[in-house]
């Protein structure tokens, strides 16, 4: 069992900017919360705050709770994968995934047999064994994303935070990665919070969505509730059509506004 509850989370940056302001939500065990919103809405900042990488006001409650106040205690419960993970080009895939064991090593400790077995298990789980000896610098975009996920899995977390896990991936690789995450949370009961730009992908995979607009929650609920034509127009200033697939999940398609109704720059700015 694992869950994450954010209550009135507020992030204030050094220059007084408030990119996240009073955000609250609850992710049940094994749930997938998609955080969506236009550029600059505060999605990545919110995720960093949840990961303990930025100071914040409010409370974030994790279940299971970390054993202590140290970073490594948190890292044993929660894993974070950045939007563009920094993969040192000369490091091998296996050694990189093994770094996921860092929270379990003492100050003078080195990874032992048990750690290597867990790292190898993460590689096998994501079908990365054939790449284990490859250098990170030689991987494709999709492979890089899978390797970053494998490193997070080696942490054996209960909660997974993913910042735009499919950015810069083509359609096929996007689906592969999202299916993979879905399988992980269904098999392991892992709780997932991810930011996603692609609204249809968010609607297809997440149980619940939180739509952020300028740091605040504009809407929250199941995908069908959140992704209405009017709300997308209001928050994204975009015209879309929304249909429903056979599972009742929304599918969004961008629609070009009819001639004469296209917003000019001034309309957009003053809206």
């Amino acid at each position: 069992m694992s869950s994450l509850v954010a209550d009135d989370v507020r992030v204030v940056l050094g220059d007084g900017i408030v990119p996240v302001d009073g955000v609250s939500f609850n992710v049940e065990s094994g749930g997938w919360l998609g955080v969506i919103g236009p550029n600059g809405a505060g999605k990545s900042t919110l995720l960093k705050a949840l990961a303990g990488l930025l100071p914040y006001q409010g409370t974030v409650t994790l279940d299971p709770a970390p054993d202590g106040p140290k970073r490594r205690d948190l890292a044993r419960v929660l894993a974070y994968v950045a939007q563009q993970p920094n993969l040192p080009p000369d490091v091998s895939v296996r050694e990189y995934v093994l770094l996921g064991r860092t929270p379990y090593l003492g100050y003078l400790g080195n990874p032992g047999r048990h750690d290597r077995e867990i790292a190898d298990g993460a590689l096998a789980r994501l079908e990365l064994e054939p790449l284990a000896r490859r250098r990170l610098g030689t991987l494709s975009g999709g492979e890089r994303q899978r390797v970053a996920l494998a490193r997070a899995l080696a942490q054996q977390p209960r909660i997974l935070l993913l910042d735009e896990p499919t950015s810069a991936l083509d359609l096929g690789h996007q689906q592969q990665v999202l299916e993979l995450v879905d399988r992980l949370r269904l098999d392991d009961g892992m709780t997932v919070v991810s930011t996603l730009h692609d609204l249809t992908a968010a609607a297809q995979y997440a149980d619940r969505l939180v739509l952020l607009d300028r740091g605040r929650v504009a809407s929250a609920g199941n995908p069908a509730e959140v992704l209405s034509v009017s709300r997308v127009r209001e928050v994204y200033r975009a015209l879309v059509s929304v249909t429903t697939d056979m599972r009742g999940r929304p599918v969004l398609s961008p629609v070009r506004p009819p001639e004469g109704l296209r917003p000019c720059r001034r309309d957009v700015d003053s809206a």
């Binding site: 140290k70 890292a75 000369d90 996921g100 080195n110 942490q155």
Partner: protein, 336 residues
């Protein structure tokens, strides 16, 4: 044997070769067997008939060996400090010089030569040691409040330029001391003694031990601060500890040998090419290769123009640069 194991074994052989060459080559003609036997005879419970006269033994043990050992120590310290800095800043072009260490040592040594020469020559290394650490500390505090790597490096460059300007002013003002300052700045092992080795060893041992202990943390830090923190690492504290240890290593080296460039920036690259990117290998390999390299460079420096000596900094650059280019080209060819 793994790639790292092979590289470490080769580096140990390289160090032994550098020691033997340094012990053998010189004005006095000592037999290889006599040199080897005398060195082995120093090992506890080993007793060998060395065949060397007392004079030859003194030349070997009191003149050549302290110099060889000091060169190994200084080269190893400069290289491991450079590797530590490069790991902390995730920047392959960083060495102690970019954090105000060399400039601090240079200014302090110049002050000692110009104003404190009455206190004897031993004041120069003490001043250089203190100046080196003060230069790094000034860079650290100049960036206070924003201790990200870019700010710290820029502060280091600014502090370094200021200290270098102050040194240049002193050198112009007291031009009669120019020769002495320049010869210190180009580095030398000419005054090496066991006393110097004894004085440097405790600082060397502490700095090397701290750096080696943090090798795995440097691997994690290579992922960037956010990801390292998400893996449970306190990135800021790790950076501070590694910078302090690397600065202690660089200050110890500069105190006993003067300013020697090239080693700290290039040897870690060679170590990375030979042993792979993990700092668990790069740090010990840098220590060994740096030591062996400076040992060889010193042998060249004292023999090429014998009985005169070349500044060791000249040798490290002239010998090291082509070797480095050759290794770069070979490894690029292998990768292609």
């Amino acid at each position: 044997m793994s790639r790292a194991g092979r590289a470490l074994a080769a580096a140990v052989i390289f160090v032994i070769a550098a020691v033997l060459l340094g012990a053998l080559v010189g004005a006095a003609d000592l037999s290889p067997w006599g040199v080897a036997a005398t060195l082995l005879d120093r090992i506890p419970f080993v007793h060998l008939d060395t065949g060397l006269s007392t004079l030859d033994q003194n030349i070997l043990l009191q003149i050549r060996m302290p110099r060889v050992v000091l060169a190994l120590l200084v080269g190893g310290l400069l290289a491991i400090a450079g590797a530590g800095y490069q790991g902390v800043f995730r920047n392959p072009l960083v060495d102690a010089g970019m954090l105000g260490s060399s400039a601090g040592a240079g200014l302090a040594a110049t002050v000692a030569i110009v104003f404190l020469s009455g206190l004897g020559s031993s004041v120069v290394p003490i001043a250089a040691f203190a100046g080196s650490l003060a230069g790094v500390a000034a860079s650290w505090f100049a960036s206070s409040g924003r201790r990200d790597t870019a700010t710290l490096l820029l502060s280091g460059v600014a502090v370094g330029m200021f200290l270098t300007a102050a040194q240049a002013y002193l050198m112009q003002r007291d031009s009669q001391d120019l020769q002495q300052v320049y010869s210190w700045m180009l580095g030398s092992m000419a005054t090496a003694s066991w006393t110097q080795v004894d004085e440097a060893l405790p600082y060397a041992a502490v700095s090397i031990a701290v750096l080696l202990v943090h090798s795995r943390r440097l691997d994690v830090l290579a992922l960037g601060d956010d990801e390292a923190s998400s893996l449970g690492l306190n990135a800021g504290r790790t950076r501070l500890i590694v910078i302090a240890a690397a600065s202690l290593a660089a200050a110890t080296a500069v105190a006993v040998s003067g300013l020697i460039g090239f080693v700290g920036i290039v040897v870690p690259h060679v170590a990375r090419r030979l042993g792979g990117p993990s700092y668990a290998v790069v740090l010990p390999l840098s220590l060994l290769i740096g030591g062996g390299f400076l040992g060889l460079a010193d042998t060249v420096a004292r023999t090429v123009l014998s009985p005169a000596e070349l500044p060791i900094g000249v040798v490290t650059a002239v010998v090291g640069a082509p070797v480095f280019v050759m290794i770069l080209r070979r490894s690029q060819a292998v990768q292609a």
